[in-house]
Symmetry: C2
Subunit: 332 residues, 2 copies
């Protein structure tokens, strides 16, 4: 079996900075025509100058691959002028509740206090990307946040809101309720549950935020992805951490999947007889929802086995060392 | 503040073998007058000869402390003669569903096939100790197992059954429904939830089986312990693993608490104004429920701060490095 994907895009990636950026950016850029680059650096990308300098760093790191970085700003209390100045240089603004995940300490403490910014974003046509978790019990955080998604979607009907990396049936259901909501979902949340993280031996390399949820959540997300739900986009949330920040007493949240996304997705979609929908899930839906036009890139995948490397330099990927049934055989 | 405990017993301990036994047994024996020693060794303690030789190893390891090891056999398809021969040398038989936790591969695959053994244990008056988890989703395993507890309690009304290390409100409720059910609960399940394991950074040293559950489960267990529920006994499930089996890609299940149990419990009970109930929770309930008479040992605890060591040789304890408000000041 074989499939050719046209200009796949990864709608949620962590490229980090410096040496980590140099390591991971090419691993995305080799297989993808573009991707949405997260702004949770230290310090966060929260001004137009930093946005432009980080864009330059990313462009340098992805060379010589054809790869369009869709940049994002870190949400804060921006002025109208700041938003207008940043708009041409970015895809949207990413909102983190303070402390919800890696490097999110500068995030929002009180969403209700940000009405002015949401209103301006709606008026200027700037999409809002959201890490949707409350500070409640870990298994309830996304479900509880759905009330905030409802509030935002209702209050700002023309604000385009992306629920990032959804992990629950609750969030999935919102997609069909509100026209201005869309979502990304990771590859790993289509295949793992909390059982894979802590059900047998505990696996730090599958620990991420939001945490993997229940089997019924995973199954619902998988069915939606296999059916190429028109408002669902593949966003890997590929989040590299060096091994000494994973296999330690305080393990950082993040699953590194960038180099193995397309082989694993091809295998998954093929197993469920849904290969024809992989183009929509990995590219067409995102192009339509964001009106983006990534550079041409043809990625051929075949059912030729490969072994996932034990590590990429200091970073251990998901399912390190495991053999999978598909691989990328050509990129043009 | 100050409290004197008389012959505290730990009703669920993993002493392991060889060097680990030598390391951890004295850490329990210094503070406790006795404890129930788990049989999930490699190979399991599943015959009277092995039971006697392991007893001798344990007695050697706890020297010179006065400490009574209440030994257990690993459940299997015993004959009537085997049970009768083992009975004088043990407290009861521990049943593990196959694969439910560390070294449980030799456990029971089909509980229904063991009716004959349960019947003989009931007739001979041998208590049954149970690791009560199904093979379902990690957060549901104990709740699902409650149906099996009900079946056993109903079918063998004279079999004394201990639900080991309960973690849920569901299991707690069974205590009041069936006269022949009693339970142990760990110190750590009185204070942590899944949030402490994977809600912030992931902490391998708080990873155990059964996994810590929801806040409402923890709160219900804590209230029952503070009230010295007459059918609830402190059983630490202190389970040492060397650090390289914890801070690694496949982290073993187990929280090591033996040396810090009494200070942490004293602090917890004092904070809730329940110090008077600590004697029942850590000793009297167990003595009454099992008709045991541990050697005399007087343990004095005072609200004098101590810092939990970073490690005991190769083993990292719960809350390593943290300062706590109470310590053991005298043992006679």
């Amino acid at each position: 079996m074989k499939i050719t994907l046209h200009s796949p895009v990864d709608m949620h990636i962590h490229f980090r900075q410096d040496a980590m950026l140099s390591l991971v950016a090419p691993l995305s850029a080799q297989h993808f025509a573009g991707g949405v680059i997260m702004p949770n650096l230290i310090p966060p990308v929260n001004g137009v100058e930093r946005l432009q300098s980080y864009t330059a760093e990313v462009l340098e790191a992805v060379k010589p691959h054809a790869f369009e970085p869709y940049m994002t700003l870190f949400f804060r209390d921006y002025t109208e002028q700041e938003l207008a100045a940043a708009k041409p240089h970015m895809l949207g603004i990413k909102l983190y509740p303070a402390g919800a995940t890696t490097n999110s300490e500068a995030g929002v403490r009180e969403i209700g206090a940000m009405d002015r910014v949401f209103k301006m974003m709606e008026e200027q046509g700037i999409p809002l990307l959201v890490h949707g978790e409350t500070h409640g019990f870990v298994m309830d955080r996304e479900r509880e946040f759905c009330a905030i998604y409802r509030h935002l979607a209702t209050t700002y009907p023309n604000l385009q809101i992306t629920m990032e990396h959804i992990t629950t049936l609750d969030a999935l259901r919102l997609l069909d309720e509100f026209t201005n909501l869309r979502a990304t979902v990771t590859m790993h949340h289509l295949v793992i549950t909390l059982d894979d993280v802590v059900g047998g031996l505990m696996n730090p390399h599958l620990f991420c935020k939001p945490i993997a949820k229940r089997p019924e959540d995973r199954d619902a997300l998988l069915q939606a992805a296999l059916a190429a739900h028109p408002k669902l986009m593949m966003g890997s949330d590929s989040a590299p951490h060096p091994i000494d920040k994973k296999e330690c007493p305080g393990c950082a949240a993040g699953v590194f999947t960038a180099p193995i996304l397309l082989p694993l997705l091809a295998e998954l979609f093929a197993r469920h007889g849904a290969l024809d929908n992989l183009q929509a899930f990995t590219s067409d839906n995102a192009r339509r929802l964001y009106s983006i036009d990534p550079p041409p890139k043809r990625v051929v995948l075949e059912d030729i086995p490969m072994t996932i490397p034990a590590s990429y330099n200091t970073v251990v990927p998901m399912w390190a060392g495991r053999s999978i049934g598909w691989s990328v055989t050509e990129v043009v």
